[in-house]
Symmetry: C2
Subunit: 581 residues, 2 copies
């Protein structure tokens, strides 16, 4: 490809709304162009990256036995009403009425459509397993679209859906996809982790996120450097506390803590570690009568160590809280604790509440908590002496770096990641909602066991850039670079020698199957180099008249700090070797 | 590819709403699946066809120097308000409001977005010409979607837009596209015609439709078998009448024609050819006063030969009718003619009307027209004697088969076609509306000269089927078949010989780059053959134990009436030769 036949457009300045480096660089390098909030044109340079991502995804999906189709972007509401998602999904679901006033949506995913296809097409267990996928435009009307392609409204997703006759089959389909995803992410040439994720109501461990590692990532990834353990923060289990609870050593003491309404302030005031304090979180659930009508409120007190954070997903699995909960209101808190938030604790309650202690809190002795009196805490609190042993103990907290790994093989570390893929065992959630059955071996109808598997095709380039860039611009891995090699001839318009050599090398590389671009725009060397460093083409060859006279050209990888002189006669094999490396 | 790893799904019966053969066959062959009115999932078998169409289009667009990008499906209304299309386009334009109540549309085409890109990106004449294209989902909320992919609401279109500095450049860009389209349609392997089309307000001949020939086509295509002349019916010019007008031979006679309100009935009653009658079409235009307010109605009488049909596009170019017209109302007709429709004519008017005669009518003598009296016509009417020579004479009619070709090189023929491509010179229509300029060589801003170029990617397979099918199913051209070759082993599950031979041939064909499918489903031969004849794979090889024992396999092209025995040892080269043919 010659630059004159392509479209190269770079900007010195990033737009004011570009907060993250990938958004800034994708805009400056001319990969994308904003049309509206969260809506971008994929410009020629960016589309090349997206097409390479798609090609890798497609090859590996096909290799894994999935079959490609394309489901409509605009979908009738009826199917979404069958699963209840038409009502349940918030304004994120873009709703339309057609000329006849009928309801439609723009697909954010396609579980409903693919399940509808399955219930019509997959009539017998003999047709199973089957996995349909598409690489297709999606839309989610994000409340606050930002970060360019990282959190856009319109985007391209690869979504796959597997159909199996039983859970064992579904697990095999799931594992095949998880393996395909590893191959896909390996091929992208990015540092990533596959981390266990919460699988919601389905339970089990059949949910993994594929996170591209980047310091700027929105997600916290928990992993053990000494083992294979990796999970996202929602899912990562806090290992059971190591030792037994120490014996009480202090007397229970009402201690004035004027104006100190946080554990950190109290610890500082009293000169004790934050980990000797206990924080009180007050939740509420609705109590229903036998007729299922609201008949009152149950208040809950969650106790966590002062230096720990609550993990909502874990809390939502505590029996009694698993049907939904909310934070208690101030009047509800005052009614039960006789005090305002900031000084709450499990002692001297005005009305009984259900107490759930985090596992770490259950093994603490001589701890400090609010006194249920303004400006007062109690120190030297001990289970079994000052209050009954906790009846409910659970893992309620986010893990922290240095926690023991749940597999017992080291300590946990935490890094940041960008979620770009997700594999998920769905069970019969959609097949039951939509009455999607097949005839089993015994001739009886059974619900499909399903899985769903997504890759954010347009998000991936953004994640790749967050991971791979420097002050000059993007640094693409070979596999998804818009061009693998760029040829920069200096003074091509003035020198027949340079022109001939550049065009010959261009032809030779094309013939060798290399995705090469010849920059024949006639830019000055400085501007030309800056463009390609910004765009991030990994391999660059510079041809100049002076160099060619000495029989030399210059090669530089985008990560190299200096160019390497290579004999002009050897450059073809030199580049091919670099690409094979 | 093995069938067991793919998805083959055929139906005995077509859905009740499938009116045309392509819709019936695409549904029965499992190429598409209806989700809603005019909205289809492209099933795996159909998607393969679409991908092949896309690949051919993409290769030839790139070869012609166009650059691919992808514009958003969901587009902000603002740009569409700049050109006025947001208001002007009817309910065909699918409108959406997002969560913030802002207006969006689902793209039916992308002139606005690409012009917006150009006015930002193409700042200098040095960057021109430039041609951006996309292959992308479109939506048009058709009032009556039907015929499957032929007139769907959601569809895939390749749309390209060229930007040039002046009309000469735009014409060169247009010609490059017109040539690329010929290469594309040649490669599809379909019978087609590129026909001149009306270019609306722009004028000139820079608009061509690419019509796939099919007896079931909606469009009438006019062509001259003895020359290159081809145009669509709207555009095709009726050559000027051959000879001078004969001298009057009959006297003007009021003739009773009770109940005969059509030319055909009158001709039959009087025993004369239909071509000796003249039909009266009454139109109306609004007359505006100096302030531009409606100040009355001008009534027009169009005279066409009884056997000719009015051509609305031609009528809309008659001076005075070119700002818009409508058919006159019955009260307006009675006010000017003193008679009801059915017996109208240019003689004995109650109030003056503007008369426009078709060129053929202007050379008629002794003609018959309505008498402006119920149940009466006048025979023997002659220009210059019974009424003044016509002041306005124009080509107002559709051509008919047998008309002289406008290039004077033979007679016109008419066949049916399906419009699948369109190239169009746009001029500055969009660049002026959106203030899209670049700096010309003299440093002054100038409006882009634009062209637009569409191919209906998902319509093409339907058109291909309308042209190529028989009672057993589809017959694909090699270039766009879902698979080029199908291997049908008989009793593969029982015979190791058949299995080994089939798998070897499958591997050999794959290695030769042939898009081959091995049907390993274990279907009975009858059902297997019926499936592939329905799906329309052009080349079939049948392997049976009996044949293999004799060292033979059977080859049959989808159009062949019988199979050819081929030595098993030669089948690979035999098939390769067939594909090269």
């Amino acid at each position: 490809m010659k630059a004159s036949q392509f479209f190269v457009s770079t900007l010195k300045e990033a737009p004011a709304d570009a907060e993250v480096v990938s958004h800034r660089l994708m805009t400056r390098a001319g990969l994308i162009k904003k049309l509206g909030a969260g809506i971008y044109t994929y410009m020629p340079m960016g589309l090349r990256v997206i097409r390479k991502v798609e090609a890798i995804v497609r090859e590996e999906m096909n290799r894994a036995g999935a079959v490609e189709c394309t489901m409509p972007v605009v979908q009738p509401a009826e199917l979404w009403q069958e699963t209840g998602r038409f009502e349940k999904m918030g304004p994120e679901l873009l709703r339309i009425q057609d000329r006849h006033g009928r309801d439609f949506i723009v697909q954010p995913t396609s579980e409903e459509v693919v399940t509808d296809i399955a219930r019509q097409e997959l009539r017998s267990y003999k047709q199973l397993p089957k996995n349909f996928y598409q690489i297709q435009t999606k839309f989610r009307d994000e409340r606050r679209p930002r970060f360019g392609l990282m959190r856009g409204r319109e985007f391209i997703m690869k979504d796959a859906y597997s159909f199996d006759r039983d859970p064992a089959g579904a697990q095999a389909s799931y594992q095949a996809m998880a393996q395909a995803y590893r191959r896909i992410f390996d091929r992208f040439g990015l540092k990533y982790r596959a981390v266990a994720a919460d699988s919601g109501a389905i339970g089990g461990d059949l949910s993994e996120e594929f996170q591209v590692i980047a310091a700027t990532g929105e997600d916290a990834i928990v992993y053990c450097p000494d083992s294979d353990y990796a999970a996202n923060m929602e899912k990562a289990e806090a290992a059971a506390p190591a030792g037994p609870r120490p014996a009480p050593a202090q007397a229970r003491t009402l201690t004035p803590t004027p104006g100190k309404a946080t554990c950190a302030d109290v610890a500082a005031l009293l000169g004790v570690p934050l980990s000797s304090t206990v924080k009180s979180l007050v939740l509420a659930t609705d109590v229903l009568n036998d007729a299922g009508e609201p008949a009152g409120v149950q208040v809950w007190l969650l106790l966590l160590r002062g230096d720990h954070d609550m993990n909502e997903i874990k809390v939502s699995k505590v029996p009694g809280l698993d049907a939904g909960f909310r934070f208690a209101t101030v009047p509800e808190i005052e009614e039960h604790f006789g005090a305002k938030p900031g000084y709450l604790g499990p002692l001297d309650l005005k009305k009984p509440v259900k107490i759930v202690a985090d596992r770490e809190v259950a093994v603490m002795a001589d701890w400090i908590c609010g006194a249920n009196q303004v400006d007062h805490h109690i120190t030297g609190v001990n289970w079994g002496r000052d209050l009954p042993e906790p009846r409910a103990v659970a893992d309620l907290r986010n893990v922290v770096a240095g926690d023991r790994s749940p597999d017992g093989r080291g300590e946990l570390a935490i890094e940041r990641g960008i979620e770009v893929g997700h594999v998920f065992y769905l069970g019969t959630k959609y097949s039951k909602a939509m009455g999607a059955t097949f005839l089993n071996e015994d001739g009886k109808p059974a619900f499909f066991e399903m899985g769903c598997y997504g890759i954010g095709v347009t998000r991936l380039p953004a994640a790749a850039i967050e991971q791979n860039h420097d002050e000059r611009g993007i640094i693409w891995p070979d596999a998804i670079a818009p061009f693998t090699v760029v040829l920069c001839p200096i003074g091509m318009d003035r020198s027949e020698t340079v022109k001939a050599a550049a065009e010959q090398l261009h032809m030779d590389l094309l013939a060798a199957g290399v995705d090469v671009l010849l920059d024949d725009r006639g830019e000055r060397p400085g501007a030309m180099f800056a463009d390609w460093e910004l765009i991030g083409v990994p391999h660059r060859v510079v041809l100049s008249e002076r160099g060619l006279k000495e029989g030399q050209v210059e090669y530089q990888h985008r990560r190299d700090t200096a160019a390497t002189k290579v004999a002009a006669a050897d450059i073809l094999s030199f580049v091919k070797e670099k690409l094979a490396a």
